[in-house]
């Protein structure tokens, strides 16, 4: 049974994989739709977190996910609709 990733889990994974920019409140509402690049997450940060998601949750995101997911909300939606790889 696949574990699901909700907002809280993704926030924690981001924080653990790539840290948090000073002055950014990852739990705040405005974070959901602010472009990642404006809250300090570059493509490598997203690669880092999507790699972790693949390893720990078996959720396989398409390679374009890193560039297509511009905001927290869109990444979360992408994760929640992605297939689970057989482990």
């Amino acid at each position: 049974m696949a574990q699901t990733i909700d907002r809280e889990v993704l926030t924690r994974l981001l924080r653990e994989s790539a840290g948090v920019e000073e002055g950014v409140d990852l739990d705040g509402e405005e974070v959901l739709d602010t472009p990642f690049v404006e809250i300090g997450y570059d493509s490598l940060a997203l690669l880092q977190v999507t790699g972790r998601i693949r390893r720990e949750y078996g959720i396989d995101l398409p390679d374009d996910a890193v560039s297509d997911a511009e905001t927290f909300r869109s990444l979360l939606e992408m994760i929640q609709s992605a297939p689970v790889v057989a482990s």
């Binding site: 790539a18 840290g19 490598l44 880092q48």
Partner: protein, 412 residues
């Protein structure tokens, strides 16, 4: 653009002797040893187990959390030292020309500890476990890059990889860029390779001490010299065009970069290496001579020499010969405060430059520790206790493995 020598306006230090300029300087003046048993990894199976480690570093407190996952420990030290140096120089990057500030640092293996960990994950668990940040965290230019990005320094930048000579070569390159029109360069070097992979590289040179006693592991110029002890850390040095520094209101300079030279030893045939008292055909002597000439000075104008201090008898003898050839037997005070820290690879010579500038500022030469007197036949005036001086210039010497020689003259 000034025709006169560039000035040093800020220093930042992360070293076994201290985190911060004054902590390092006070410990250095007191002759406090910072070499001990390696604790960073289990070195029990290696023949060399001593190191100069930076202690008391709280990464979480000093490094922004975004940078923690993407930086090797040595890069974290570099960031902290750069922050101190820029603060010390009262540089606000937003107020200066965006492309007028560069970063040129010295490195050797890059983020070795980080890289080893990721390689370990690759081979033990698979590529999915390798950090995305491995793409640059291991790289020689990581320190330059992270300093540049964090502080918005977008001018000409680079990294110099010349082993232990790099700490001077980076400053030489910084001076070159300043002469070409870049007004400020963050330079120096901070390094470290206290992990098995880094350890193997240094063990393979055959130049590491195998002593078990921290007080006996690094005795440059001593009759008991038996190799060197590695350490981590270094110094970041803010170098500026003299006119530009004045124009932005800098009131306190540590000193000026008066002269610089680098040479490279020819490949020795085994016979040459055996018989050559200058161990490399006089490359270090030439570098020293050229740096002093570059400064428009004569040897008699140099007040103190901060030695490369290899800790290997043949290399110590060669350096002592070079120094006495230039200054006459016992002709100038010579010191090696790196006896307190070990040799810091890409960071070592920069730390020597910072220490030399502090020495000139406070009119005192820091001691060489654990070496009561030089070996017979080494005609150098080795400073073994902190000594007052009225020196106005210092010569810093550095040699890198496989033939790099560098010399820098600073004045205050």
């Amino acid at each position: 653009m000034s025709a006169s020598a560039p000035v040093v306006t800020g220093l930042g230090i992360a070293a076994p002797t201290g985190l911060g300029v004054e902590e390092h300087w006070q410990a250095t003046l007191a002759g406090r040893p910072a070499i001990g048993q390696l604790t960073r990894f289990d070195a029990s199976k290696y023949p060399s187990r001593l190191a100069g480690e930076v202690t008391g570093f709280d990464a979480e407190a000093r490094i922004p959390s975004r940078l923690l996952p993407q930086t090797d420990r040595s890069t974290q030290f570099a960031l902290v030292a750069a922050e101190e140096a820029l603060g010390d120089a009262a540089v606000n990057p937003q107020e200066l020309p965006e492309y007028g500030m560069g970063v040129i640092t010295s490195a050797s293996g890059g983020g070795v500890e980080f890289g080893q960990r990721e390689l370990g994950l690759l081979w033990s668990k698979g590529k999915e476990y390798v950090s995305a940040y491995q793409s640059f965290a291991w790289f020689y230019a990581a320190n330059t890059g992270q300093i540049s990005i964090r502080h918005g320094l977008r001018g000409p930048s680079g990294v110099v990889v010349t082993d232990q000579a790099g700490g001077l070569d980076a400053i030489g390159h910084a001076r070159r860029q300043i002469r070409k029109g870049t007004e400020l360069v963050v330079s120096g070097g901070v390094d470290g390779a206290l992990c098995p992979w880094g350890w193997m590289g240094q063990l393979a040179t055959g130049l590491l001490s195998r002593s078990e006693d921290p007080a006996q592991g690094f005795l440059p110029f001593s009759a008991a010299a038996n190799g060197y002890v590695p350490g981590e850390g270094g110094a970041i040095i803010v170098v500026e065009d003299a006119d530009a520094a004045r124009a932005r209101g800098v009131e306190r300079e540590y000193g000026r970069i008066l002269g610089y030279a680098a040479t490279f030893d020819p490949r020795p045939s085994s016979q040459d290496a055996e018989n050559d008292p200058l161990a490399g055909g006089g490359g270090l002597l030439r570098a020293a001579r050229q740096a002093i000439a570059d400064a428009g000075l004569a040897p008699a104008d140099i007040g103190v020499v901060f030695a490369d201090a290899a800790g290997t008898p043949r290399l110590d003898r060669a350096e002592a010969l070079a120094i006495s050839a230039l200054f006459g037997p016992n002709g100038v005070p010579v010191t090696a405060p790196k006896t307190m820290t070990g040799r810091l690879i890409g960071g070592g010579a920069s730390l020597d430059v910072a220490t030399a500038l502090l020495s000139l500022r406070d009119h005192v030469i820091p001691p060489t520790i654990n070496v009561p007197e030089p070996a017979p036949g080494l005609a150098i005036d080795l400073v073994t206790e902190a000594r007052e001086t009225d020196a106005r210039t210092a010569l810093v010497l550095a040699r890198g493995y496989s033939g790099f020689n560098a010399a820098l003259v600073v004045g205050a």
